[in-house]
Symmetry: C2
Subunit: 400 residues, 2 copies
């Protein structure tokens, strides 16, 4: 069998659904051709290969490249001062008066050029890639006006030309109400639904639309309106749901067959059942939970019992989750949310791909999937969750 790259002497965590747990193959072989997995399995079952390149893993673990399925990676400005002021005891009101909060990031992002946004985003992206990430979802949402929203999405697209990584773009114009529309919610919703979403779809600036459905952002009724516009234009749906209060976001996301509902600390029982029926992925974001020092845990046991697939992501953003490590998100998910090691690792591979609608294309080591791969200097897959701040990656390939 003629192939491009042959990986031998590797242990595989295939994450494939037809195998139990992590889909482990202890004495594995994987071969790629034209950027796809051409063969994968036990060495004893392997055909003879004629490979351009042979990579001997020396017993290390090979996994699918990791998928960070929820980030706000592109922004300008610095919120570390706000972090510092909060620790000094400043109230949220004082910080708002000092010009802090999400609108501070909106101001800085509006003022930043495309080149400045690329330059600011690259170190954050590089930190993710250094831990084996090969696909990153990036949302807009710090423009809240057409030009800046499109510039954020164009920046996200440009990152894919700067680095070996796949970027999935999501339009989050409905992240917050911009101050110039403070007295005209209807006007901003029209701008979103009648101008921005049609253009995002027409020019393929993003493949999905997200909404922050929360008392401090958009109501369930407003969310429905944005979702209907997005659906009408053929865009897929994601939802920031039930993070700070129960607004029925989980059920709302499910009723639109959204790819994912994200955060979900306050999701209710009906919402969980609806997500299970709709196949909507629960994207857990323990970085924000940790940084905000939340007490309300997402209903993990209910997701388990109902069979809702769970993913884990960094939520990398300047206000509530300045987290640039997907492996650390796994440790937080295990420690704070009590996800098992298997749930954690499926949550940044198979289920994270599904949260982006890419489950047929990546997230597992199976024939035909993209050859996005990570090789790890570890003895057991659990180490990817157990260690904090360790440097475990040996190498990664995107479309090997």
């Amino acid at each position: 069998m003629r192939v491009d790259r042959l990986f031998t002497d590797v242990r595989l965590a295939t994450m494939a659904g037809h195998r139990p747990g992590l889909g482990i193959v202890e004495d594995g072989v994987l071969a790629t051709r034209d950027g796809r997995i051409a063969w994968v399995g036990e060495r004893r079952d392997a055909p003879l290969f004629d490979a351009r390149e042979v990579i001997r893993g020396e017993g290390r673990w090979l996994t699918p490249g990791l998928v960070d399925c929820h980030t706000h990676l592109v922004w300008a400005g610095d919120r570390s001062r706000e972090f510092e002021r909060r620790l000094e005891g400043a109230s949220y009101e004082e910080i708002a008066r000092e010009g802090g909060g999400i609108l501070a990031t909106v101001r800085a992002t509006r003022a930043a050029s495309f080149e400045e946004l690329v330059r600011a985003a690259l170190p954050r992206l590089d930190a993710l890639l250094a831990e084996g990430v090969t696909t990153v979802e990036i949302k807009s949402g710090y423009g809240l006006e057409p030009a800046t929203e499109y510039r954020q999405l164009a920046t996200a697209a440009a990152l894919e030309r700067e680095r070996a990584v796949r970027i999935e773009r999501t339009f989050l114009g409905a992240h917050a109400l911009p101050s110039e529309f403070a007295k005209d919610r209807e006007g901003y919703l029209r701008l979103l639904c009648d101008e921005m979403i049609p253009r995002v779809a027409r020019e393929r600036l993003a493949s999905a639309v997200d909404v922050f459905c929360e008392r401090i952002a958009f109501s369930p009724e407003e969310t429905r309106r944005v979702f209907e516009a997005a659906r009408a234009h053929g865009l897929r749906l994601k939802l920031h749901a039930d993070q700070l209060s129960d607004s029925g976001g989980a059920a709302l996301a499910a009723s639109f067959a959204a790819l994912s509902a994200d955060h979900l600390e306050y999701a209710n029982a009906q919402g969980v059942q609806a997500m299970a029926r709709a196949g909507t992925v629960a994207v857990l974001l323990p970085g924000a939970f940790y940084c905000l020092r939340e007490k309300q845990l997402p209903p993990i046991e209910s997701f388990r019992r109902a069979g809702v697939p769970m993913a884990v992501a960094t939520d990398c953003n300047p206000g509530t989750s300045p987290l640039q490590s997907l492996l650390l998100a796994l440790n937080l998910a295990a420690t704070l949310f009590r996800l098992t090691v298997t749930e954690c690792l499926l949550g940044v591979t198979r289920n994270a791909a599904r949260a982006l609608g890419l489950e047929d294309d990546r997230g597992t080591l199976e024939i035909g999937k993209r050859a996005d791969l990570a090789l790890w200097a570890i003895e057991r897959p659990a180490e990817l969750v157990y260690w904090m701040g360790a440097r475990l990656l040996s190498a990664r390939w995107v479309g090997a």
Copy 2:
């Protein structure tokens, strides 16, 4: 003025006690000669330098090299299975029956050669160094028998030959009671006090002695006995104090003028006052607090009011803090313990040096101190605490 290295166009966080807060110099210059700081201050006050090498910081921040003043970095074996089992719901009893816990690490460390211990420790050390650490304290305590305790300390010493770093060694033979002495506490205490401590002192295997004073380890009375032996042999003192219960450890450490008392979640008011009087540093270890999901916070506000210097460290160990990032320890200290940014950064520089008795030698940018330096690609020092999992170091020097 003839110097070796000249750092210009840098912002300095000197951490010097004669300046407020972080001792910031916005337009700074630093010069080194013979591995020491020869000049430091404002550019406008600087003399003319004749330097072998000039390093232009392009406005980046220069700080003292960071000091990780409490680690158990040298061990063999893998406890990730235990971590995984706990997440699957296994009880501590089940894990003990499966051979887990601290004695699992003792078994593996006893079985490991010097070379194996070096090989296991290096990646952990490298992770620390990649974040600007230049001094690491390493404790023994996974041998609990003479040969292995000495081998751990020899390994720690060897790391200093393998990498550009300063290692401070602490003898922690009183970490746990080894199982072969389960029915003979007196026998192990005699082995510690009459054989191991004298030899550690005589052969300069360590500069300090530490004890785990806790119901599950050694009593205050036993701790006193070990401390008296250590003091008699000219060794300095540190104490694992009041981590899981109030055993009066803080006051006990202070009564011996120990360099530091570490953990301290359950330290009582008298202990805090005694530490302030004795000048004993409070070493906070938020990694263990986080991993154990503790609820009892150390008495931070009492330390502040009493003027007890606070340090922060990784406590890097396989059971309760598999943490290889000192910057992440800072984020945990801020988020969970509400330390301010200034307290955090003094806690891994000036106060960490003091916790090792090295305050005259390092931990600040002052004339005469060692030229252990870290250069950071950040806009504000607060970013060192604010980000999680970011890669912020531009360069580091040990004895520049």
